[in-house]
Symmetry: C2
Subunit: 316 residues, 2 copies
C-alpha cells in the first residue's frame, strides 16, 4: 500500500498506520509526513478541554453528529486519559462512541498519554497534520484541561472550548489562572443540574473583566448544554464558526497559524538536535566518563551539557 | 552579597534571588547553580499532587507544621496554579499560610506556571536544586495532578502522595490511567465527608491489582485526613518516611535519583542546543528565507529543521 497516496484519498487504515509510525518515532513516518505536508493547512482545528467528569466525551459525540448533519467530515484526536477515545474510562461511554465507527466521514484517533519519544504535544501535532492532509474539514482535539502540556495542545487549535459543569463553585475561581485565558467559548454541560445558572453567571463576570478594555475583542459566549439529551449542541457548533469568522475578519487566525507553525518548528529542531547529539556521543568512552562524573556529582549537569555541545556544535 | 555563599548558609533572600535569576534564564544564574551543585543531593524530595479542590494547600500547611515539630527544615515549591502559594486562589488560604512566613526553617517558593524559557519542569528542577543546596531536609513539590508536565514534575520526587477526596466516584476510575501509577501513597482528604470510606476502598482494590504480582513491591497505603482539623497528619508523614526506608532498602532510591539526573541532563542539552542553534541562525538572510518558505508551506518543517541542523551540526 502506498500510505501517502492512500491517506490523501482518505483511507483510514493508511492514516492510522501513518500516525502509529509517527508515534513510534519511525524515521519513515517523517518521510511520509513530508510528502503529506503540502496538503495540510485547510482544516478547522477545534480544541475541547475541561476537567474529568464534565462529560466531554458525550459532548464530543454529539458535536460530531451535528457536524456530520452539516455535511462536514470530522477527525478527532483524543489526548484525554479519562476519555473513552483514549481508553481511560467507562464501558458505557465506549459503547456509545461506536456509533461513529461505521461512518467513513468520522475518524477518531486516541493518543497514548505517556511514552512519546518526542513529547505528547509533538505527537498530537503530527496526528493533526495527518488528519488535515486526509481531508477532514474539522479536527477536534479533546484534552483534559489543567497541565501546561494540555495548554500547549489546545494552543494548536484555532478555536478552543472549555467545558465546565454546575457545582464547580470555587473551583471556577481556582481555574481562573490557567484555563479561563485559553477559552474562546465556554460550555456549561449537565446544565439540567442545580447551580448551572450560577456557574454561567460566574463565568460571564470573569470573562467581562478579561475583555472589558478592548472593544474589538472577541467576547467568549457561555453556552448551556445537556449533552446526554442532545440539548444545546447546534448553538455550540454555531459559536465555533462565529469565532472562526471573527478571527478571519480580524486577521487573528493567520497570526495564530503562523505562531503555531513556528512553535512546532522550534520544538522539532530541539528534538532532532538532541537525537543527533546523543546519537553521536553514545558509545564513546569520553561520553561514558562524563556520565560517570555526573552520577558521582563530580561534574554538574550544566558544565557537562556545555562540554558535550562544544564537542558537537563547536563554540558559539 | 555573595549569593552562592549566602544561599549555602540558608539566607532566604539570596535563595529567592537565585531562583528568580534561573526562572528568567539569566546565564549568571546558571553559573551560581554550578557552584551550588556539589552541595545538592541530600534533601528528601516529596511530591504532592491531586485535583483542584482536594484541599492540597491546607494539607501542605499541616504537613509543614508536622515536619517542623520533628525538627526538620522544609522547603516548598508550589507549581499548582490553583494553590495559594503560587497565587491562584482564595484569600483565606493565603492568609492561613502566612503562619510559616516568620519561621526561618520554612521556605516557600511558587513557580509561575507559564512563560518559563526552558519549560516548567526545568525551572522546578532548578528551584529544587537551590533549596537542596540551602540545606532544607525535606523539599515538598506541590502540583495539580493531571497533565504530563505535572507527571514529569512529580517524577523528580523520591516519594509522591496523591490527594483524593470523597465523592470522586467514577472519577477515580478515570484517574486510573494517569495518576494511580505515580502515587507512592494516597491521601483521602476531607475524610469527614460522606463517601470517604468508599473512595478508600476503591483505591485499595485498584492498588491491589497494581502490586499483586510482586511480593517485594511497595504497597501504597491509603490514608484518611481532615486537614482543616489537623487529623491524620502524623500518619502521612510516617508513611513518607516508611516509603523512603523501603526505597533505600531495595536500592530503588539510588536508581530513581540516577534516572532523574539523566532526565534533567538530557533536557538541559536539548534546551542549550536550541539556544545555540537559533542564536547562530537568527538574523541571517538564509534563515529568514527559510522562515518565509515555512510560512508559505513551500517547505515542510522537517526538511527545514534538517537543513538548519546540517548547517550547524554537520551531517550525522
Amino acid at each position: 500500500m502506498n500510505y501517502v497516496e492512500e491517506a490523501l484519498k482518505g483511507n483510514q487504515l493508511a492514516g492510522a498506520r501513518l500516525i502509529r509510525l509517527l508515534e513510534e518515532g519511525d524515521p519513515q513516518g517523517i518521510e511520509y509526513l513530508k510528502a503529506l505536508y503540502p496538503h495540510t493547512g485547510r482544516a478547522f482545528i477545534l480544541g475541547l478541554t475541561g476537567p474529568p467528569g464534565a462529560g466531554k466525551s458525550t459532548l464530543v459525540d454529539r458535536i460530531i453528529t451535528e457536524l456530520r448533519r452539516r455535511d462536514l467530515k470530522v477527525g478527532v484526536v483524543a489526548v484525554d486519559p479519562s476519555s473513552p477515545f483514549s481508553g481511560g474510562a467507562i464501558l458505557g461511554d465506549r459503547v456509545r462512541m461506536q456509533r461513529h465507527a461505521t461512518d467513513p466521514g468520522v475518524f477518531v484517533r486516541s493518543m497514548a498519554t505517556r511514552g512519546h519519544l518526542g513529547g505528547l504535544s509533538r505527537a498530537t501535532g503530527e496526528a493533526v497534520l495527518v488528519l488535515d492532509a486526509m481531508g477532514y474539514d474539522v479536527i477536534l482535539i479533546e484534552t483534559v484541561g489543567v497541565g501546561q502540556d494540555e495548554v500547549e495542545i489546545v494552543d494548536m487549535a484555532h478555536t478552543t472550548a472549555v467545558v465546565c459543569l454546575p457545582g464547580m463553585g470555587d473551583d471556577i475561581q481556582a481555574m481562573k489562572a490557567g484555563i479561563l485565558e485559553i477559552g474562546d467559548l465556554f460550555i456549561v454541560n449537565k446544565a439540567d443540574r442545580p447551580g448551572a445558572d450560577e456557574v454561567v453567571k460566574q463565568l460571564q463576570v470573569m470573562l467581562e473583566m478579561r475583555t472589558a478594555h478592548d472593544e474589538d475583542a472577541w467576547r467568549p459566549p457561555v453556552l448551556k448544554t445537556v449533552a446526554v439529551r442532545n440539548e444545546g449542541i447546534p448553538d455550540v457548533v454555531d459559536a465555533f464558526y462565529a469565532h472562526r469568522d471573527h478571527q478571519e475578519r480580524t486577521g487573528i487566525l493567520a497570526e495564530r497559524k503562523a505562531k503555531r507553525q513556528m512553535h512546532f518548528f522550534r520544538e522539532l529542531v530541539k528534538e532532532m538536535a538532541a537525537e543527533r547529539i546523543f546519537g553521536a556521543a553514545e558509545g564513546s568512552a569520553e561520553y561514558d566518563r562524563m556520565l560517570e562524573g555526573l552520577r558521582a556529582r563530580q561534574i554538574d549537569p550544566y558544565t557537562a551539557a556545555e562540554t558535550l555541545l562544544d564537542q558537537t556544535l563547536g563554540g558559539r
